[in-house]
Symmetry: C2
Subunit: 402 residues, 2 copies
């Protein structure tokens, strides 16, 4: 008998029909003789609707109260999913984050999980029940409700799988698995049978939108075997696990990320400590900076460009303007009309030809590169947003990923 943790996202439970569909899948796993624990997200647009309700009353509500509000979304889902399983005639119980004992830090709106109590879940599994757990939420040391921020339900599922030593953690989503590129852009994109944690991490943080990187990090740390599958069909998905041997294929996938904006600080004084000043201001306000380019100095000044997410753009610009007495940029420019296109693959860094091939593909497609960044297992370039899809296709073809 195996212990399986499954996770279903908001689109998988968006209406009564989808909820019944998910219930049937869960019961199938249970009937096959497994212990089944399920983490589930809020239905469809519930979270957005709740945020809208809050904004109408107070756009600057405290994060603590936002968490009290938003956590109801998942609580509604667990109750409905449990009712659907009851209808199918199987024993089931729903549990909220605090009922399970998903203990987090006190960082409302983006809490990190410290510990998952297993006592209540094991006691319900002993009674042969299917256990439905509210994703995205936990409880802190003050007995206050916290939410885990973006990708929270994936993280809940992996944390449950780690705490329960589950045999596998199945993440159900609306795609069949992890592809070499977005199938909506690249017609002949291929589904990967498996992928390493590190590769998945790069793909997740590069906008592949399948798994959130926090959950992949945790899966890697606790060696939780993940499977990414569709909740809408029975296609075998993609396994994310420690891959022991170096794969033959260097480049595993091509991704595009539109959630990116570029800020350029022009004619900054070329004195030591400038970069430190700029990025520490942003870091203090939790604004993550991705690609960074510093121009080779003109006479006594330089240009510093970098990217942030679109959501952070406004606040970043405000902060930079507020502190421009220290930064002393002549001009602060910005654009949202850019996209980040990346290739990911283990061992890539040791193969100089990979970067060259990527750039060649873009050159052949007459696509201009604004910024470049590389890591152990990825190469990213910033291009105009209008060119992004063509770039993905060109690179995918070049590496014969189809």
């Amino acid at each position: 008998m195996s212990l399986i943790v499954q996770k279903y996202g908001g689109s998988s439970v968006k209406d009564a029909e989808r909820v019944m569909n998910v219930a049937n899948r869960i019961v199938d796993a249970y009937k096959a003789g497994n212990n089944v624990v399920v983490a589930v997200s809020a239905q469809g647009d519930t979270t957005d609707d709740l945020i809208e309700k809050a904004k109408e009353i107070n756009p600057n509500a405290s994060k603590r109260e936002m968490d009290v509000l938003l956590s109801t979304g998942e609580q509604i889902s667990i109750a409905l999913l449990a009712m659907a399983i009851e209808k199918l005639g199987y024993p089931v119980i729903s549990l909220t984050g605090w009922q399970v004992g998903i203990k987090t830090d006190t960082h409302y709106g983006g809490a990190r999980i410290h510990k998952v109590d297993t006592e209540r879940i094991y006691s319900e599994l002993d009674k042969k029940k299917i256990v439905i757990v509210a994703g995205f939420q936990g409880i802190n040391k003050y007995d206050d409700i916290t939410t885990l921020g973006r990708g929270g339900s994936d993280t809940s599922a992996v944390a449950l799988a780690a705490a329960l030593h589950a045999d596998i953690c199945e993440i159900y989503t609306d795609v069949d698995g992890v592809y070499t590129a977005d199938p909506r852009i690249v017609k002949n994109a291929k589904k990967l049978d498996d992928i390493s944690y590190d590769e998945m991490l790069e793909l997740a943080s590069l906008g592949a939108n399948v798994l959130h990187n926090r959950s992949v990090e945790m899966a890697k740390k606790y060696n939780v075997k993940l499977a990414v599958k569709s909740s809408l069909n029975k296609v075998e998905g993609t396994y994310v696990k420690e891959v022991s041997q170096v794969e033959k294929m260097l480049v595993r996938g091509v991704t595009r990320d539109n959630d990116v904006a570029r800020i350029a600080l022009c004619d900054v004084d070329d004195t030591p400590g400038k970069a430190f000043q700029i990025f520490s201001i942003l870091a203090k306000h939790n604004i993550g900076v991705d690609l960074i380019i510093q121009s080779i100095g003109k006479e006594r000044t330089k240009d510093i460009s970098f990217t942030v997410t679109e959501g952070d753009l406004e606040q970043a610009l405000k902060l930079l303007e507020q502190h421009n007495d220290v930064i002393c940029a002549k001009d602060i420019k910005w654009t949202k009309d850019v996209s980040k296109v990346s290739i990911v693959g283990a061992g890539m860094v040791n193969n100089a030809g990979v970067a060259a091939s990527m750039f060649e593909a873009l050159y052949n497609a007459q696509i201009n590169i604004h910024m470049i960044a590389t890591s152990e297992i990825k190469i990213s370039v910033l291009v105009d947003r209008k060119d992004a899809e063509r770039a993905v296709v060109a690179i995918h073809d070049k590496f014969e990923l189809g």
Copy 2:
């Protein structure tokens, strides 16, 4: 400094504007130097919408899961109300039933409160915070969420007031207070300045729809002083408290209750134990019976009539037909076209003239009486529904309550 418990119902917080209005009232009480604890219901139609969602998936969902679902309604309200108070710039915290420690029995869907922990609330009041508590919900010994059933939020408020030894428990609703009759029916109905617990209990259970009788019972038991007020204006409401001296006015109010259906069992054998058999069947299924009339025997048979709520009618008829092999009624008749009209007032039972005056008023208005029942402080009659409003007006005039 006083400790005030306030309760706001669903219509008082049904949208952003109403929530802000309630927030302002709460802040007024706080600014006047009081400690303020607030119990709040789910917004407007939220509970009905959630029930609808559940029915779509499973009309026979377990009551435990229904409670997990329904309790989200009040959780949404407390978060939004806290956000509104934050916007006004006052310190506030929202607490769910389990966070407060509102301990109930395990009767899901209609739980009774055993005990209210005060530690968390006192600690927040010590920090000078306004405390917003989710009404209608609690937690049982299994750490499972329970809801309190009809009138649950009133009961929550009174239980909080009792546990915290509050100076007053203010129940805000959409009427100005308790009236001598429904102002929509009787133009010159008068608001009562105060009323005793017992009188309020009779009014509540007779369909005055202002306070639920469970909450009044609890207020009486723990001697909690209640005030019934409108959340929409500043009119002084009605106080519900122990009234020491016998009031001059015997009859305090006239009520009408349309949530009533009459069942008649015709030609039942006139043998001992029949009434016991009939009403124990209904009691076993939690169907409350109100007025009961037994005809004076014909030869060897009798007719037994009684009333139930409209909601219980269908199940009651089913049970009676199932068990008619024991009951042996020749015919089972029923109607919903009846209303219960009642007068309430302490000491009424000692004044024979009251009942006579009531019947006289009905006779003068040519209204037929189907059933009569009396208690210490009330007299109820069953009349045709079409006559009910005229009956209320006639009785109200007769006793010069306007």
